[in-house]
């Protein structure tokens, strides 16, 4: 069960993987992949596993296989840092090239990767438009039309009988949407954090990533950390 909704008049599927699928234009959008986050820590002496890029790409290729998009959009912070491309393995670089084959691969730039890729496959853009929807990395307060953004790594905390669950989620008010981080090593920020204040008109809905389905949960049922 995936959640289909309208964002600023554009029909979008909020997939349980955290990817956004816009079927009308056959576009798959993923945010905050943070490739090579593991090796960025290793370079500073903390030996996190070097498998995060491979793992992120594995999950991404499942999504690509399932939807076969004409365009694949990385919504910024795709590379964890400016030197990520010097650390990425050839295998992972090849996997990215394979994803770009036969479709447009668009890297929207973010604060971690302001210059976009220099040698990996794909084109770089600041933002793109799909109908009335602008796709860019950072959410913008008071924008005059709809947007889809990443950057904030939203997650929701739900309390029920027997305990609390904290999961990545989409946050949307029907005009705007923040995507969850897709990267294997990306942490997340509770949607009740002040960073989300004032982004939405009224109380948004969190669409929480569950096992095999995405579940909408009302704002008033969510908890802060």
């Amino acid at each position: 069960m995936t959640h289909v909704t309208q964002i600023s008049g554009v029909a979008a599927t909020l997939r349980p993987s955290g990817a956004l699928w816009i079927e009308d234009v056959r576009t798959l959008v993923v945010a905050d992949l943070h490739f090579e986050k593991g090796s960025a820590f290793a370079a500073r002496g903390q030996m996190l596993p070097p498998y995060d890029t491979a793992e992120t790409l594995r999950r991404l290729s499942i999504e690509v296989e399932a939807t076969d998009p004409g365009a694949l959009v990385f919504l910024g912070d795709t590379l964890h840092d400016g030197r990520a491309e010097t650390r990425i393995s050839q295998r992972d670089a090849d996997a990215i090239a394979a994803l770009a084959k036969g479709r447009d691969l668009i890297w929207i730039t973010g604060n971690h990767d302001a210059d976009g890729p220099s040698r990996l496959a794909g084109d770089t853009a600041q933002e793109i438009r799909i109908g009335a929807l602008t796709l860019r990395h950072e959410p913008r307060r008071g924008a005059d039309h709809g947007w889809a953004a990443g950057h904030l790594h939203p997650c929701a905390k739900v309390v029920g009988k027997g305990g609390a669950v904290r999961r990545r989620c989409f946050v949307t008010d029907g005009e705007r949407i923040v995507l969850p981080a897709f990267g294997a090593f990306t942490g997340s920020l509770n949607v009740k954090d002040e960073a989300f204040e004032g982004l939405f008109a009224g109380a948004p809905t969190a669409v929480v990533l569950g096992a095999g389905r995405s579940l909408p949960v009302a704002w008033k049922r969510l908890r802060g950390d």
Binding site: A42, P49, Y51, S89, G162, A164, F185, L215
Partner: protein, 915 residues
Amino acid sequence: MDLALPDQFARWFERRGWAPRAHQLAMIEQGKLGRDTLLIAPTGGGKTLAGFLPSLIEIVERPPRNTPPGLHTLYISPLKALAVDVQRNLLTPVSEMGLSIRIESRTGDTNEAKKARQRKDPPDILLTTPEQLALFCAWDGARLYFEDLRCVVIDEIHALHSSKRGDLLSLGIARLRMLAPNVRVVGLSATVDEPEKLAAWLGGYSPGGVNPPPAPPLGRGEEGADPFNPPPPPGRKNGPAPPSLREPPPEGVDWEGDHAQHGGGGSPRLRRLEEELEQPLAGEPRRTTPSTAARSPSPYGGGFAAPGLRQVDIVRGAAGAEPLVEVLLSNNRVPWAGHTAQHAMDEVYEVIAKARMALVFVNTRWQAEFAFQELWRLNDANLPIGLHHGSLAAEQRRKVEAAMARGELRAVVCTSTLDLGIDWGEVDLVIQLAAPKGSSRLVQRIGRANHRLDEPSRALLVPASRFEMLECRAAADAVRENALDGEPFRTGALDVLAQHIMGCACSEPFNLVALYDEVTTAAPYSDLSWDDYERVVDFVSTGGYALRTYDRFKRIVKGRDGLWRVRTPGIAQRHRMNVGAIVSAANLTIRMAGRHGSGRKIGEAEEWYFEQLEEGDTFLFAGEVWRFHHVEGVNAIVSRSAEKDPKVLSWGGSKFPLSTYLAKRVRRLMNDESAWESLPADVAEWLTIQKEKSSLPGDEDLLIETFSRGNRHFMICYAFEGRLAHTTLAMLLTKRLDRLGVGPVGYLANDYALAIWALRPLEGLDFDQLFEEDMLGDDLEAWLEESFLMKRSFKSAALISGLIERRFPGEEKSGRQVTFSADLIYDTLRRHQPDHLLLQCARADASTSLLDTARLSEFLRRIKDRIKVNRLDHVSPFAVPILMEIGKERAPGSSAAEMILEEASAADLIEEAMA
């Protein structure tokens, strides 16, 4: 023997009107002979003084020298508070004797200026904790600092050895023995089941024989025959450790290593090692010690006199008077289930009112809060009753301790925080509220009462339920017979080893082989294979990943001199901030709401506790009722509440599982009808009716009952193997029942039994087949990989091994962030390198400490062909307690998480539809 005491000391004993005890004199003798010694003595026997007397005498009689003397004696205790307490107790005799000896303590609470001074100008005696020793081992000046060290005293060793802290401590001791070869190691312990095993733990292995043979000159010889051209290390796991790879086998030791068998080939890693070893390391001191070849495989298996074991003498103090242990027979009915003992609280209060000072032990901090509250509710006489548990702020605990020391309190409700040997003098009664779970722990706690050997300790056990009544009775009998639980001994954990190796590199460059020889002198690591050792070193250096992309980021590197060292000083500094083997659950600090944000700290509690609270809920903490506001970062913000009854109660059961030994005694008691007379009438009646309506579990049998209730079909197994083993068993049985198509929908386990309920009848099952031993195979593994227990173990291994850092310079990670990233790393690593070292560590930990699989496997063997199934029409008396618990427990696991999400989402839909 009196001659052993120098004048000042003999006069001091005289003035106090004391005679030195035999074991104190024996310890002085041992000191003079320079023997490693384990002192076993009951509390109150002058154990601590016995441990220190040899050092005090040695320091006083030390000839004057030109250079200031370094540290003479290092004392290590498992508790910070104990180190401080011993300092106080030691300073008294030292000042009364007029000795000029400097004694200082050093714990995590010691301020930085004092620590720095202690480093530059060491005292004669330093009192500290295992964590501080690990930190010493990671200093760059460790070798110089411990140059003059003569003695190490390890207190309450029985409480330390069987844990990861014990592993870390054993490695620290091995380090000290290397840095100061003449150091004498002394262990102090309460009475234990098998002191020889403890002595073997303390001693570990000698790195060398008495007179090591002179080594032949280094040279290259023929392949396979020359011991200097070492074979690749054998790859087996459990055989004797390989001989030191750069050393000849010692004379007189018949090392049967078959070189040809191991020669050539091997993995790339082995070849790397060979290359490394083939280049003689210039300037490296030649060691002439024989190595591990002379050892027996295990110090614990073959008895403590196995060759190669370092001999530790055992000195025993006189046994004290037999303790007087009673079980409270309440005038009220004994409850069917529960852990609070509320029914007997007024009787407990009466007993406290008659005692001089009572320690009231409970098993969890929530029980402590509850009992404290209840006692004050009854406290018309306004008796000063205090509260002490691990969640309270340190200063608050110290206040209580100080008031106890001054004799101002009449009772203290406490958890295991007061288990260990701080001398409170005035305590004349120990009350154990709810069942003790093990006889050794009970003996330890009873020893808190009356620190005088000639008077018996008095203890009262207060069972909280009917099964606990049986358990308390069995425990009281066990104490009377001085029958203790056997403690399991452990194999050293590799995450702890990783931390230690990194620490050694931070201290000074190390030689790969020399360090292997050093760590394998520590008993828990004596079986460490070269292979595993090398994997750990590789993990420390590069993270140990099959994908070798981190070789350029190595944390420790091998220099041209062949020695391994830390790559940058910054890496060493970060390591030192993360030393230790205690990983606490993610805790939140409880703070009062202040006018500007958060105010005074009240204590700490586990994060999960606050997850169940809504804003405005009231709960009990530190003996007061609080109103919960919200969580802010790592703080839970609260304010005082005027309410008397808190809304939220959460009384988890015991965190210690029922010991195997005590469980056996409980089964025996049930089958001995003549012993039922000592039980309250309602409990005896309960047993009688159980016997009539169903039956009692036999000494060695497993009793199973099946019955239906409502539209559910129940199966209750009275296994008496403790909650951990029961939970694992219930989970495995549920999987099987699922495959058999009976539709199991839930399970619950407590210390005595486990219940499983299903949609379809269970009485027709083949129970012998259901309980086949092979259930510990694939099902267990498959389940474990997904379980939250595994994630918890992984997180702890990741923290201890340094994969995840607890603290960065200038910043502390909150528990929450750590939890989160550890899970992400676990998921990724499991998919991409399932045989990674840390996953192996986590699996080993989970199966021993969290699942109790060893105990479960023994149980399955025992009950084979001994299963008795009673197919009942009604609920039996024994089934009532566990049925009452159903519905009160919180269900962990991933499917539960999905249900919570689903409910939240569905509730919205309903509201939307009805609006």
